[in-house]
Symmetry: C2
Amino acid sequence: MKLTDSMLLRVNLSTHTVSEEPIDEKLIRQYLGGRGLGSKYFADEVDPMVDPLSPENKLIFACGLMTGSSAPTAGRYMVITKSPLTGTIACSNSGGVWGAVLRKTGYSMIIVEGKSDKPIYLLVYDNNVEFKDASRVWGKKTGETTDILLDEVGEKRARVACIGPAGENLSMIGCIINDKHRAPGRSGVGAVMGSKNLKAIVVKGSNTIDFKDKSAFTGAVKEKIDKIKQHPVTGEGLPALGTKVLDNIINQGGLYPTRNFQFATFDGTEEISGEALVKKGYLKKNTACFACPIGCARDVELPNGITMEGPEYETGWAFGAHCGVNDLHAICEANFLCNELGLDTISAGVTIGTAMELYEKGYIPKEDLEDGPELKFGNSESIVYWTNKMGRNEGRLGKLMAKGSWRMSEAYGHPELSMTVKKQELPAYDPRGVQGHGLQYATSNRGGCHVRGYMISPEVLGVPEKLDPQELKGKPQWVVIFQDLTAVIDSAGLCLFTSFALGLEDYTDLINASAGFELTPEEVLRIGTRIWNLERKFNLSAGVDPSQDTLPKRMFEPLPDGPQKGAVHQLSKLLPEYYELRGWSPDGLIPEKTLQELGLT
Amino acid sequence: MKLTDSMLLRVNLSTHTVSEEPIDEKLIRQYLGGRGLGSKYFADEVDPMVDPLSPENKLIFACGLMTGSSAPTAGRYMVITKSPLTGTIACSNSGGVWGAVLRKTGYSMIIVEGKSDKPIYLLVYDNNVEFKDASRVWGKKTGETTDILLDEVGEKRARVACIGPAGENLSMIGCIINDKHRAPGRSGVGAVMGSKNLKAIVVKGSNTIDFKDKSAFTGAVKEKIDKIKQHPVTGEGLPALGTKVLDNIINQGGLYPTRNFQFATFDGTEEISGEALVKKGYLKKNTACFACPIGCARDVELPNGITMEGPEYETGWAFGAHCGVNDLHAICEANFLCNELGLDTISAGVTIGTAMELYEKGYIPKEDLEDGPELKFGNSESIVYWTNKMGRNEGRLGKLMAKGSWRMSEAYGHPELSMTVKKQELPAYDPRGVQGHGLQYATSNRGGCHVRGYMISPEVLGVPEKLDPQELKGKPQWVVIFQDLTAVIDSAGLCLFTSFALGLEDYTDLINASAGFELTPEEVLRIGTRIWNLERKFNLSAGVDPSQDTLPKRMFEPLPDGPQKGAVHQLSKLLPEYYELRGWSPDGLIPEKTLQELGLT
């Protein structure tokens, strides 16, 4: 089967009916696959005003263009839906092996519609699909669910993507977990799956991918793998310490959010860094996702016997510095609980840190803690206890936490203490310390997010070139290009980490060689522009107006500490130029002309 | 297949050869099965002076007479070998389901001989056996090993008994774990399995058991189940709180060993009792072994996501009161680690408590802790950390701990601080507070042990009648009868807990009805006497002389606290009468005449 001979599987859970459709190659040329193609189908089929947790919302599982091939990191898949957390179109991206196996089933996309009347799971294999009773695993954690379903399916190469109790309970920060430790994590896609009574999708397949010109493809793959292996970040930094190589770098840069963004440096960084994970003996071995030459994943085992993957940089930060906690053991336990219960680690950790500030300021009354430990910054017992409550949707405060930081803060009358954009929790970089990255937070189509245009790369790591993080000039242009290129990388089915070593020309080579296209780099980048505007258009029609292209109030107050003390984010100086470069109106709307040029009318 | 048509499987790991032998019904009438029959074969075939960790030692897995039948609690199996810990004949007994499935394979006993040249596991099914490569699971913990082998075997009704890293590393307190949470725990039987490079035995079977007179058997079973359900201990106490119903009772009785038997009451008992397990929400549900109407097992889940069975009373005490620890969470974690690493929980907890006294008295130098937490009574971090080190045989102190309390204390020049009998750690009852139970400790054929004659039943619980724990008169006779009856219950394949509700006549009914015998109660009890003397004879020939029928020095010093303050154990007043009742010489040897009467010459 060629990558361009893609088939989509349409599954209606209300009627238990399925259908197959070929995917028009013209659409693949315009959107590649994954995020782009999935968003195109979603936007064409779903009313932007739909209630995200109603049967009318759809849930799309999509392989990227190269997913399942031997291209470096080509194991990615994406989940597209309307987010209950942000109200925007959501696309959450995950690694592991599940996505590659989905491609081998013969389907590159599954569109899930409607709602099952009882808990079920889907078994998808070699152009077949079965609806299976999930009552045995409903309520169970993701690890046990995965073991039980693999045993039930009885096929060693099968893979499971499932939700935990959080998704079942419609937690707005509930995620999907595949291969036990990998997650399409953000924006509450797990709650949408739960709202459909869909516990899991088990995939197994034996289809192979072939190529118009196999030697051209393998030649391109070999060349790009060499580049990845030779680059200091993807060839040394990430393989050595995983994403947690960043803790010390970001802390020293003075943009390591601490105690709910009240500070930008954390004195406990040493004890919770990637280096500490090795020193304490928690790290057992390095591991990697499907077809990945980088291998940033980590098999970890705690002294109490818990085995897990991670923690990743963002997770370690969210439960660590953000909560003022320097106890790596407790951080790992909270991470493990998030995976088992099916919670997004960034949103979960940030929500607990927010609760700590609300409690310390007296906005959360002591009685709301019920029997739980005090929500004080630095209390490591708290992060494990409250993650468990949140993930199980238990207790008054646990139920509020399960709605995410913004709704919890709003319930206590202080939404300004929620460090969110479009109600989604911000990741581990204080925007006051990186102007371009802050603009990217404010304009991200899925709310607070670091992987819609990772400006940390030039502004902190100096890749592809070093930019002054406080410089404003040129930043909007950088953000636009990074956002569009990221949309291309996602849609191609590759990991964003490849972009440390590869550029637009490299991706163009891989796309052309794999699909047999003859696109120019400009045409490839334009695909990204098209995807970005498609998402924006959906959001505007969904009532997420441009006034939400902003940052939490705190980001406009001076940084109190660290090398960038005194800095504020200067969004108002960046946003107009960003809109203009986007070809949008000064108030952030997309003119008909821009839509026409991109074929979005 | 009738219970009396038993077949034994002989497996030679050195030559990878197997053979089948029928078991003579005459032997079954003399030894029933399990402990009795296994010990008979063992004593006949193995030189008492054998090095327990050499290929010449044998390892016998044996079903009891009724194992696998519908008799109440008939899921027990026993492991018989020469113990590396005590140098005596060892018989460790376990519940769960594995033993019942072994019976269904068509074999009621497996005699493992020799040593494999590389790690293997045995797959035993329907009168077949396969030698399988275990390199994939060697070094892995018991939970993961069980999951991997069940997946490899691909048969849902298969069951796994395996060793963890402790057994592989020949820890003298290494156990075998079946069904993930159940253990033939004591005397280092896991080290013998490790010394043979045998990682696991996987059983699956479809044989059914039939009976000479099925209606007689089912009638007897129904009557005994009713008795068990109607008894306050087996019908209420154990089902309600499991074995941890005992914490408060034993503490209030003033025989709850605290801080390595320095005290007999523990002020933290409330926080670690069976009641606390419920109050803290760790207890998820009650569960039961094969064919058990009592259901004393407990499914537990900790707030950090660890799921396990237990802790049982002895385990909770060993890591709790014995170490001065009142942190139930840490106690559960240590229990979980013991199961995962394959350590006997009683010996592991007692060894850590002993190390705490050695450290506090300055006999263990600080540098021997290397990076580990201080071994101070009450330090909950220590019990988890050092269990992990011990189970993995890591570090100078971890390696010493893995040899058990006596050898560790001896290495530090203070064996008198090791609370052991015949080098095996004492369980959770201070003998100074229960004279009969103390005599039982001193005379147990496998060293310090509470399940060779559970005198706590009459001396504390008042079953079958209440005896004064400090009274000496009549106690030797009680001990002899309890020891012999226990040998019968074990060999019948039933759980010792049934003896709270059932008596000699009841067991006689079940044995006769199941096997089609017409034994009198006296003849049945005599079977127990025969087994006891067979074990004693082996031990004497193994160089374990009667001078070892004693207790730690501390037991002859007055109890410092509690309702029985001032009491000492009066072994010297009890032992001569015990020897006499046994028909042994005043110096504890077995006269030829006694051996002849029992058919042991």
